[in-house]
Every structure is written in structure tokens, then in C-alpha cells.
Symmetry: C2
């Protein structure tokens, strides 16, 4: 049987377990050009919250009754494809299911000898490429600059900060627990990391950035941007790849004062750049990013932390926690877990 | 005697004539490396309003009692410079004065046979280079895209729109009088131009952009951006080179709702780019821009309109009018006017 987790109803604000529905269906034999997979590692990422809404966005929403979207690392267990044989490891957007039958075009082959398989959905997968593309194309870090990165211990943020260090930046993380902050400093080599829940977050961040902020990596929105805004230097770059603090919002947050004119004045006088991007539009750089990142991992310049959850059935709960910052590192669901892999 | 117009006091909101003070001083003989000039065409530009404030910005404010800043086209009447001889025409940031003595390093030579001299402070000067740099570096217009340009009949906006047409864009102007709108269509070849003072401005702009907006050239801020915002397409680019609607504001305008989160959401989902720039940081492209623009002028692809005011003494009043959109075309003060030039 193939177990699938479907979108049962659209969330109103924070998702609940009732928004998801688990169904079992008979495994479908692959047709020509298809493969049957056994899902091993399934990725949970904040962007999935957007797909649960029925609003116009860069990707079409998941329909009610359709399986939730996800990238996953899987093994081929039956193949009608010339490109993949039984036993191959593959990565692709195969959804929240444990034995899907999918079109070969969705998949790329993963070499199990190159790096741990789970990295293909993490530091050597979508989040890693996000960090690489955003830094390379938009942030363009220069030696001696100050980089502030939000969601600093997360899959994207942790990689962004370490790339910043490679380029000689002073790297200041922002995270939601002291443990996460400590990790980015002691394990990842960040210069400083501030807990945004601290009462004196604003003062701490200002003290940590005596030369202002040249790059602000926007992963979250909300209080972190508000605090960074007055610290931004001339020519500051703000890559925007996520706004997790808004994803569960049922109405736009914000005070009574419209800060749009203020932002534009800063954009002009400081000659800033704000650039939104979605990694899926930059997969022409995926190979390049994986080569760069895997070299940096081999050289010990990039480390990564994974937060494993066992069992597809626990995906909804883990996903709800992710949106509240409960994960610590890249959130990965172990499905059909084989401890020998 | 050299007549100078000084900043007498800082304006509170809209400048008044009392903010300026005219003084006469003895002409100073040039020292080694200096030249004495006769100002012929002096430029008035919105950015000068920023220099009248004592606030941190990209350039330091004009001090009380110091002459107002301006670029001007002048003729050399006495020279202690190896680079400039008597009779030469030069352009540089020589301020609101009619017979200044200035350092040769401030000046570039202007060939009077290349184009009318006044263009050296207009379409072949700072405003023209602003349009060129912003389009070339940041807007990157593509054939078939829709470009909306604010302050459409102004020195920068008129050039931006015509560059847009050269690149095959659909060009929609926004201006403050029907006469200005008509001019951009009949003379400059814009596809449409909307008067932002019309009650149905929003509906008119929407109708003029059935395929949305790919490039919004931000010259003004305020109502024009507010109206364009919902029309922006995926991958929209917003070069920000001016915010004239804010320059006289004594407090930041805007409604009671903070639209910053909404903007960031749009930036992310539409993968937009917002980029502030100041042309003075891009003068490595000045020669390139002048060559391109003068070729386009020769080919009849770029036209320009100048709005002349006679006499340095009328500069303050003309400048106050400029901030209210009273000019029609590039505002130029004729100083020491010689009708044979």
C-alpha cells in the first residue's frame, strides 16, 4: 500500500492536524517512463504552508484532497524508466507519500557515495541551493561586510551564514532559542547570534553590528526586519527568500503607521536593493551550487545539522512545529527508514 | 561681482523665498588649477530639496550661509588651468552663482558642436545619465514588457520612457497635467499617459496596463506607487531614483495601515526587485550614456523638452515650482544669457 497525506481542508491561520488526512491506496505499477519509489527521507519546509492557501502565489495551491507537496530522497523499487534502475537513489518532488509511482522526469539521480543521502534534500538540496543562489546572485558578500541572517540555525540560514564566513563577512545570526544561537556560534563559526525573543533584542543586535548591516538575509519578516531596518548601511542588499513569520497570519500584521514611504526613502538614500527570489527559478545553477557546497563540506567550511522525525504519520505535527520554530536544523522525516542507509 | 544664492534657513516643509538669500561678492581671481566662469545654463533638480535638510542622507547637507548646489554649463573667462582655456564651455557642480571661481577638477569640457549646450545639464547630463543607468543596470527592459514611468514629462522620466520605447516596451506615463500627458504621447511616443490628479486615475492606469506592470520607474513615491503596486507582475523591477512627493513632507505620509509586510510578501511571491540608486555613484558610465543618448537623439529616437527661466534671481521661485510640478520639461535657469550661444 501507498500511504499519502492529503490536504483535507485549508488552515485558517496556524495549521492543525485536522487540516491533513492520511489515506492508503493500492500501490500503482509504473507505466512506461515511470518508477515506483520507496520514500526514505522527506523534506519539510516552510514554503509548504503557502501551498495550503488558496491564494495567488508563485506556485499553484495544493487542491483539497490532493497530497501535500514535498521533495524527498527515495529508492527505486520498480522501474519502467531507461534512466533509473531498481536500487537507484533519486531525489524529486514526490509529495507526502511513502510508496509513490512517479514520472521519471521529476527525478534526479543521487550518488550515495558522494554525501549522506539525507543531504540531497538539505544542504545539497533545495535549501542549500537557495542559500548559494541568494548569496551568489543577490547578496554578493564582500570581505569585511556585516551579514545578518534570520532563522540562523535553519536549513537555509545556517548555510547562508557559513557562506558569509567563507567570503570574509562578519556574520550575525538571529534565532529563537539560546541553544540555537549557541550552536551557530560554537559549531558554525558565526561571530554572534541573538535571540529575537530577548527583551533587549534590539539593543543586542545593534551592539553586535557596530559597523551597520550590509546584507540582511530575509527568511522571516516581522520583528527581525523591523530591528535591522535602521541598521542598514548604504548599498545594503536584502535577499528575500522567505517570510515565515507571516505564513500563519490571517491578516497582515503591523502597527498603525504605514512604513512604506519610510522604506522607500531608505531604499533611495541608502541605495539599497531588496530582491525576492524563489530557488525553483534558479535550478540552472543547481549543479554549480551542489559542487560548491559539497567542496566546502569536504573542506570543513560548511557544516549542517538535521532534525529527524520518524514516520510519515508524524509529518503533520512536525510541520506545525516547524512553522513555530520547534525544529533545530533541517527538518527531515524518515519514511521507510532503513538504518543501513 | 559674483552673485550667489545661499541657503538662508532650512525649510519646514515647502521651501519659501525666505529660505534663500542672494549676496554679491567680489569676483575672486583664479589660483593655480582654478578657472573663473560665467554661468550660462544652471540646472534645477528635485534632489536639491534634500540638500536643504539637515538630515543624514547620501550627500551632506548644504550648510546655512553656503551657496545652494547645482550643476551648470558655463564658459571659462579666466583660466589658471592647463586643461581649460578662455572661451571653453564646461559643465560641473558649480552652484547657484553667476561668476564662480572653481577648481578645474570639478569640470568637464563640453563640445558646443555636439549638441545644444543646455543639453549638458539635461538629456546629455545628470538627468539623462540617470535614465540610462537605471534602465541599463536595473530596469533591464525586455521587448513587449510594460513600463510605467512617473513624472513622465520631466527630465528623467521623459528619457526613461523613450528608452523604454527603443527597447520595445509598452510605455505608460504618469504626469500631473493633461498637457504633460498629451506631450508624452504626441511628441515622445508614449503609448499612454495618465494624469494622477484624475479621480479615476486608478481605473485608468489599470486599463492602460492589461498585462500588468513589469517595470515601474519610481521618481515620485506616494499615490503613483500605491496605484502601481497591485499591478506589478512577477519579476517586476522598481528602480528608485527619486521620491519627489516626499521631499516637502514634514512627517512621513501614509495611512493607518502598515503596508511593509504586504510589500515584502509581494517582493517574495512576485520575486520583485526594488533598487535605489543615485546617479553620482555611476559616473563611470557617464561617457557611455552620453554616447548612447546623443546617438539616439541624432536618430530622432529621443527628444527632449526644456523649460527655461531667465535670471539667477528667479531660481528660488522656479525651484519651489519644480517641487510642485509647475515646470514642463527640464528646468533650466538662463544665467548671463547670451542669445548667440
Amino acid at each position: 500500500m501507498n500511504t499519502k497525506i492529503l490536504l483535507n481542508e485549508r488552515p485558517d491561520g496556524e495549521p492543525t492536524l485536522e487540516n491533513f488526512k492520511t489515506v492508503k491506496e493500492k500501490i500503482r505499477s509504473p507505466k512506461e517512463g515511470e518508477v515506483l519509489l520507496k520514500t526514505i527521507y522527506m523534506s519539510l519546509d516552510p514554503y509548504m504552508r503557502g501551498r495550503m492557501n488558496d491564494t495567488k502565489s508563485y506556485a499553484k495551491p495544493v487542491a483539497i484532497g490532493e497530497e501535500m507537496e514535498a521533495g524527498a530522497l527515495s529508492q527505486v523499487i520498480e522501474s519502467k524508466s531507461k534512466n533509473f534502475k531498481v536500487g537507484d537513489f533519486v531525489e524529486g518532488r514526490t509529495g507526502w507519500q511513502d510508496n509513490p509511482t512517479v514520472d521519471e522526469k521529476k527525478l534526479r539521480i543521487i550518488d550515495p557515495n558522494m554525501a549522506p543521502l539525507s543531504t540531497s534534500i538539505g544542504v545539497l538540496g533545495m535549501p542549500g541551493t537557495t542559500a548559494y543562489v541568494g548569496m551568489h546572485n543577490f547578496a554578493k558578500p564582500q570581505r569585511g561586510e556585516t551579514l545578518v541572517v534570520s532563522a540562523a540555525s535553519g536549513a537555509v540560514g545556517s548555510t547562508v551564514g557559513q557562506i558569509g564566513k567563507i567570503y570574509g563577512c562578519k556574520v550575525i545570526g538571529v534565532a529563537g532559542t539560546n541553544e540555537k544561537c549557541e550552536f551557530t556560534k560554537s559549531e558554525l563559526g558565526f561571530d554572534e547570534c541573538i535571540n529575537y525573543k530577548d527583551d533587549d533584542f534590539k539593543d543586542q543586535l545593534k551592539s553586535a553590528c557596530p559597523d551597520g548591516v550590509d546584507i540582511y538575509w530575509e527568511n522571516v519578516g516581522g520583528i527581525t526586519f523591523d530591528t535591522v531596518m535602521p541598521l542598514l548601511n548604504d548599498y545594503a542588499r536584502i535577499p528575500v527568500c522567505g517570510l515565515i513569520s507571516l505564513y500563519n497570519a490571517t491578516s497582515m500584521p503591523g502597527g498603525e503607521k504605514d512604513r512604506l514611504p519610510l522604506l522607500f526613502r531608505q531604499v533611495l538614500t541608502k541605495r539599497m536593493m531588496i530582491k525576492g527570489f524563489i530557488v525553483f527559478n534558479h535550478y540552472d545553477q543547481r549543479e554549480e551550487s551542489i559542487i560548491a557546497l559539497s567542496n566546502w563540506i569536504k573542506e570543513g567550511k560548511i557544516k549542517y545539522k538535521e532534525d529527524f522525525v520518524d514516520g510519515l504519520e508524524n509529518a503533520p505535527n512536525a510541520f506545525i512545529g516547524l512553522l513555530n520554530g520547534k525544529n533545530f536544523g533541517k527538518l527531515v522525516v524518515r519514511v521507510n527508514h532503513d538504518p543501513t542507509i
